[in-house]
C-alpha cells in the first residue's frame, strides 16, 4: 500500500506518455489507485473517475472465473470490452474537453 501511495511521486511508468506526452483513455489510473489507497477519494476521482468501474469488473470477472475454474466466456467478455471501449473513450473526450486531462498528463 505504501508503495502504491508513493506512485504519484515517481516518474511516469507509461512509455506512451513519456514518448508522446499524450494521455491515453486510461491515463491517471495508477495515480487514482494510489490516492484511493490513501483514502483520498476526491484526488482519486480527479486522477481518473472510472477506477471503481475497473476495480468492480476485475473483482466480479475474477471471482466468476475462479469459481468456474476457467476463463470467462467470450459471450460475456466481448460485449463487456466493447462497452468499456465506448465508456472510456467518451470519458476521455469529456476529460479532454474540460481540460482535466491536461492536469493529469502534466502538460
Amino acid at each position: 500500500m505504501a508503495l502504491v501511495a508513493t506512485v504519484g511521486g515517481l516518474p511516469a511508468l507509461c512509455p506512451f506518455r513519456v514518448c508522446t506526452g499524450l494521455a491515453c483513455p486510461l491515463c491517471g489510473m495508477t495515480r487514482a489507485l494510489g490516492s484511493m489507497a490513501t483514502g483520498d477519494v476526491a484526488a482519486s476521482l480527479r486522477h481518473h473517475p472510472l477506477l471503481l468501474l475497473v476495480a468492480g469488473q476485475v473483482a466480479v470477472v475474477g471471482v466468476a472465473s475462479i469459481r468456474a475454474g476457467g476463463k470467462p466466456s467470450s459471450r460475456i467478455m466481448n460485449p463487456l470490452m466493447v462497452a468499456n471501449a465506448v465508456v472510456f473513450t467518451a470519458v476521455w473526450l469529456l476529460r479532454w474537453r474540460t481540460g482535466s486531462l491536461d492536469t493529469v498528463a502534466g502538460n
Binding site: C14, P15, F16, C24, P25, L26, M29, K71, P72, M81
Partner: protein, 224 residues
C-alpha cells in the same frame, strides 16, 4: 543431447517422443525442425493426433501447413509471461561478457576499448534481434518459448509467420500492446484464443507443443 555416439547419418527418422507416423530431419548432429507427417501414413497420423492430445507441431519445412483437423491448445497468459521473462534475461550474460572484455581492453588502450565495447554492444543487440525477432518467424520459438513449450503460428493456416512478419509483430505489435496501459499484453487473460493485440493484428496465436531445452540456442544448427 547426450547419448548420440555413434551419430547416425543425416536423413529423415522418427524421433523419440514424437507422435507415430511422423519423422524429423536429423542433420547428423541434432534434430532440425519438428515432426513431419510421413507421406502415405495418413491413418496412422490421424490416430497419433488423437492419442497425442494436441496437434503435431506444424513445422519442419518452414511454412509447412498444419495437419488438417488437428486440435489446438493455446498457451495461457502465465506461460507466455514466463517465456517472455526468460527471453528478457537471456542476453544478460552476453552483455556482461562484453562489459568485462571492454574494461580489460580499455585498460590497455582507450581507442581499442571503445571499439570493443561498441562492436560488442551492437553484436549483442544483433544477436537479440536475430534470436528473439527473426528466428521465431522461421521456427516459431524463442528460447523462452522452447522452455515453456509453445510456438507462435498463423492463427488461420498454422504456418510460421516468417522472419519479416515476426519482426513486425515484435516491434509494431509490441508498441500497440503497450499503447493503452499495456492492456494488449493482458488481453490473453480473457481472450478465447489467448491472443494479445499483436496476435490479433498479425493473426498469430501461441500454440502449445512439447517442451524443449534452452541450449542449443540455434536449434537448427545453422543460421537462416
Amino acid at each position: 543431447m547426450s547419448d548420440q555416439n555413434p551419430q547416425p547419418p543425416a536423413g529423415w527418422y522418427p524421433a523419440p517422443g514424437d507422435p507415430e507416423g511422423t519423422q524429423r530431419y536429423w542433420d547428423g548432429a541434432g534434430w532440425q525442425g519438428g515432426p513431419q507427417p510421413i507421406a502415405g501414413a495418413p491413418a496412422q497420423q490421424a490416430a497419433a493426433q488423437g492419442a497425442y492430445g494436441g496437434q503435431p507441431a506444424p513445422q519442419g519445412a518452414y511454412g509447412a501447413p498444419a495437419a488438417a483437423g488437428g486440435q489446438r491448445t493455446y498457451a495461457d497468459w502465465g506461460t507466455r509471461l514466463l517465456a517472455t521473462l526468460i527471453d528478457g534475461v537471456l542476453l544478460f550474460p552476453a552483455y556482461l561478457v562484453v562489459l568485462i572484455l571492454t574494461i580489460i581492453v580499455w585498460a590497455i588502450s582507450d581507442v581499442l576499448g571503445i571499439l570493443v565495447g561498441l562492436v560488442g554492444y551492437l553484436g549483442v543487440i544483433g544477436l537479440g534481434i536475430y534470436l528473439l525477432m527473426w528466428l521465431p518467424g522461421l521456427t516459431g520459438q524463442t528460447p523462452g518459448k522452447r522452455i515453456m513449450g509453445y510456438e507462435i503460428v498463423r492463427e488461420d493456416t498454422g504456418r510460421y509467420l516468417g522472419g519479416g512478419a515476426y519482426i513486425g509483430r515484435s516491434i509494431i505489435g509490441g508498441f500497440v500492446n503497450g499503447l493503452i496501459c499495456y492492456i494488449g499484453w493482458l488481453w490473453p487473460l480473457w481472450d478465447a484464443k489467448n491472443q494479445t493485440w499483436a496476435d490479433k493484428i498479425f493473426t498469430s496465436s501461441a500454440v502449445t507443443r512439447d517442451k524443449g531445452s534452452l541450449l542449443p540456442l540455434f536449434p537448427n544448427g545453422k543460421p537462416f
